[in-house]
């Protein structure tokens, strides 16, 4: 930590909190100027590397000082716009930076295959806007800017999902559905923020928390809580509000799916944690009631229902998308326990799930790139024709089930431990059943990949065809991370526990 705190030059270190969101924004404009897709891609990749470096630097700063605050425009909070980093949002920032780099390495061959040449530069530009929006949500210190950045990222997301139209026209309706629902979610969220502003007279989140603690709660703040939970729940694909997700993930370009699946819902989940734990407090009666009767319940239902739905999907990416909804359920269950152990288990699962789903969607993208396969039954024989990608897929798939020696086991272990601490035996049972269901749908994919023979076309058996190295390397890194962080769980577990302690132990 101490080493991390000082590797950035002093001037950069001072401005790092704002640079991390400004650099992608500048790069988005620069990428739009680029005449060719490859040049825009270089800009995007360089940006993501800078973001990752800044995120590591900020991790060090937060490790040293606890909270890093930056006054935009020199106006001090609570009146000015504050950028605020603490132990809760720095891990999310790190996740965004690292997965941004990995998925952008992967992007070049994948995007070249899926998106028309003259649209590529603008596609990377839209992606960078989305990237900077997600970073903005993570670092914003006031509630209104969370909304602004949420909208920036969402609008860019609708665009890049719709770019899947090159391969499948249904991308347009998927994106449109997401647009309608996402806008409703954002509206609910901003209504909630408006109510909070009415009740507290401030938009700064730390200030809001202080005022609420002093003045207590009333109907207005309760309504605000409900609106905010529904709004952010929509963005985070909390169970009954997840209907936009399967189609959006299934028809978006592969690179977009890989990136969004490992970051976008995570950022919304972070925002939910920030509001529920930091602004409202778990000790408040209606908040703690919502833990048991809302988050835990919808979490468990999501774990069951979405997993069952996943088992019966024919499209491979839709299958994994339903699994993502189920995994959000795990995180909601962790949140719903309302204890530091539960929240840290949920956050640990958030990071681990990013590692798994990143690798899984990248592997599916590689299959689609080489053979154009999308349905589960078309995955037949890929273990023989694309062994490296199939291996990465297998490792990440087993991690998704929660097999020992993978990170999936680690986070489920922590979830079970936290549930037992709370005395929630039914949650443990739900976790077990959901893991069995995960085994069922992952087994369907793995059986097709490894057990069946490669298809033959006019008597000609499909030949071995390795994915390009730019696709393989980030995928294998993520798959390896799934195993590595089982044996070296301390860094991730440490981050998650520090994050949970930061919001739980605040008062």
């Amino acid at each position: 930590m101490d080493m991390l705190a000082s590797f950035l030059p002093a001037g950069v270190a001072h401005h790092a909190p704002v640079l991390i969101v400004v650099v992608p924004l500048i790069a988005a404009a620069v990428a739009a100027f680029m005449p060719r897709g490859v040049m825009a891609w270089s800009v995007a990749l360089a940006t993501s590397v800078i973001v990752a470096i800044l995120a590591f630097g900020l991790l060090g700063q937060v490790g040293a000082h606890g909270v890093v605050s930056y006054d935009v425009g020199g106006w001090a909070p609570p009146h000015g716009i504050e950028i605020r980093l603490d132990r809760l949002n720095v891990p999310i920032l790190l996740l965004l930076g690292v997965l941004g780099v990995l998925s952008l390495i992967y992007a070049l061959p994948s995007v070249a295959d899926e998106i028309a040449k003259k649209q590529q530069a603008l596609f990377y530009s839209a992606f960078l806007v989305c990237f900077s929006g997600l970073i903005g949500v993570t670092i914003a210190g006031d509630a209104f800017n969370v909304f602004v950045f949420l909208e920036i990222s969402s609008i860019a997301t609708y665009t890049i999902i719709a770019m899947g139209v090159g391969k499948d026209r249904r991308a347009l309706t998927a994106s449109y559905n997401y647009l309608v629902l996402g806008t409703i979610g954002a509206t609910f969220f901003v209504i909630g923020v408006g109510f909070l502003y009415m009740a507290t007279g401030t938009l700064n989140m730390a200030d809001m928390a202080a005022v609420l603690e002093q003045n207590g709660h009333n109907r207005v703040t309760q309504a605000a809580f409900a609106f905010i939970v529904v709004g952010l729940g929509l963005k985070a694909a909390m169970f009954p509000l997840h209907v936009w997700l399967p189609n959006a993930y299934a028809f978006a370009p592969n690179f977009v799916t890989a990136f969004l699946a490992s970051t976008a819902t995570k950022v919304a989940f972070y925002a939910l944690v920030r509001f529920v734990f930091s602004i409202f407090h778990p000790d408040v009666a209606f908040v703690s009631m919502s833990f048991t009767w809302l988050f835990a319940v919808v979490g468990v239902i999501a774990m069951m229902v979405a997993s069952v739905q996943a088992v019966f999907q024919t499209d491979a990416r839709r299958l994994l998308a339903y699994s993502s909804v189920a995994q959000v359920g795990y995180m909601m269950l962790g949140l719903g326990m309302g204890t530091a152990a539960g929240l840290s288990a949920g956050l640990l699962h958030l990071m681990n799930h990013a590692l798994m789903k990143g690798a899984l969607f990248m592997a599916l993208g590689a299959f689609a790139l080489n053979f154009g396969v999308r349905r589960v039954k078309d995955l037949a024989g890929l273990g023989k024709t694309m062994p490296a990608s199939a291996m990465a897929f297998t490792v990440a798939g087993l991690s998704l089930v929660g097999v020992p020696l993978t990170v999936g086991f680690t986070s489920k272990w922590y979830l079970v431990t936290a549930a037992l601490e709370r005395g929630w035996w039914w949650a443990v049972a739900a976790l077990m059943i959901s893991s069995l269901l995960a085994l069922a749908y992952v087994a369907r994919l793995l059986a097709a990949i490894w057990m069946e023979n490669p298809p033959s076309h006019h008597g000609e058996v499909a030949q071995r065809r390795l994915a390009p190295w730019m696709v393989l390397v980030p995928m294998l890194i993520l798959a390896a991370a799934n195993v590595y962080f089982f044996f070296h769980a301390d860094p991730l577990v440490g981050l998650a526990q520090a994050a949970a302690d930061a919001v739980m132990g605040g008062r």
Partner: protein
């Protein structure tokens, strides 16, 4: 003799005035209602009126779609560039933060820097809003065939 003589001449007279009014709204934005967004819309409306009267091809020749695309990006760069500029200009020796307009002008007693900063930022907004309005207009207008003269 081309048809719609009155429409053509009146709009030729009006279009420069609309643009001037757009800039008035922009530069007056920090004293009264208005600002970059509204000004951008008004300036875009001038071009849209031109397209309605003289046809899409003429409008595309006057404001090419490429310029619209670059204009949208340029506006963002002006806005962000202002913020980055203030980070590099250290007013009175102490480091200033992103978008701290006081760096832009030495006259601290009247906060002239704040004035210039807002104008610059709004100029970026104006550029992007004009461009995006036109981009949306071009995208929609480009989809349908132009209305034939007999159909007016």
């Amino acid at each position: 003799m081309s048809p719609h003589l009155i429409l053509r001449i009146v709009s030729k007279l009006l279009i420069p005035l609309i643009v001037v009014f757009g800039f008035y709204v922009h530069f007056h934005g920090d004293f009264g209602p208005g600002g970059g967004f509204q000004a951008g819309v008004i300036i875009a409306v001038a071009v849209i009126l031109y397209a309605l009267i003289f046809g899409m091809d003429e409008a595309r020749r006057a404001v090419p779609p490429v310029a619209v695309r670059y204009g949208a990006a340029l506006g963002v760069l002006i806005y962000v560039g202002t913020g980055v500029l203030t980070m590099f200009m250290n007013g009175a020796g102490e480091p200033l933060n992103f978008l701290d307009y006081d760096a832009l002008h030495p006259d601290q007693s009247h906060h002239s820097g704040q004035h210039y900063g807002i104008l610059l930022v709004e100029l970026g907004v104006l550029t992007t809003v004009t461009s995006v309005m036109l981009a949306i207009f071009y995208a929609f207008a480009g989809r349908v065939p132009d209305i034939k003269d007999e159909d007016w």
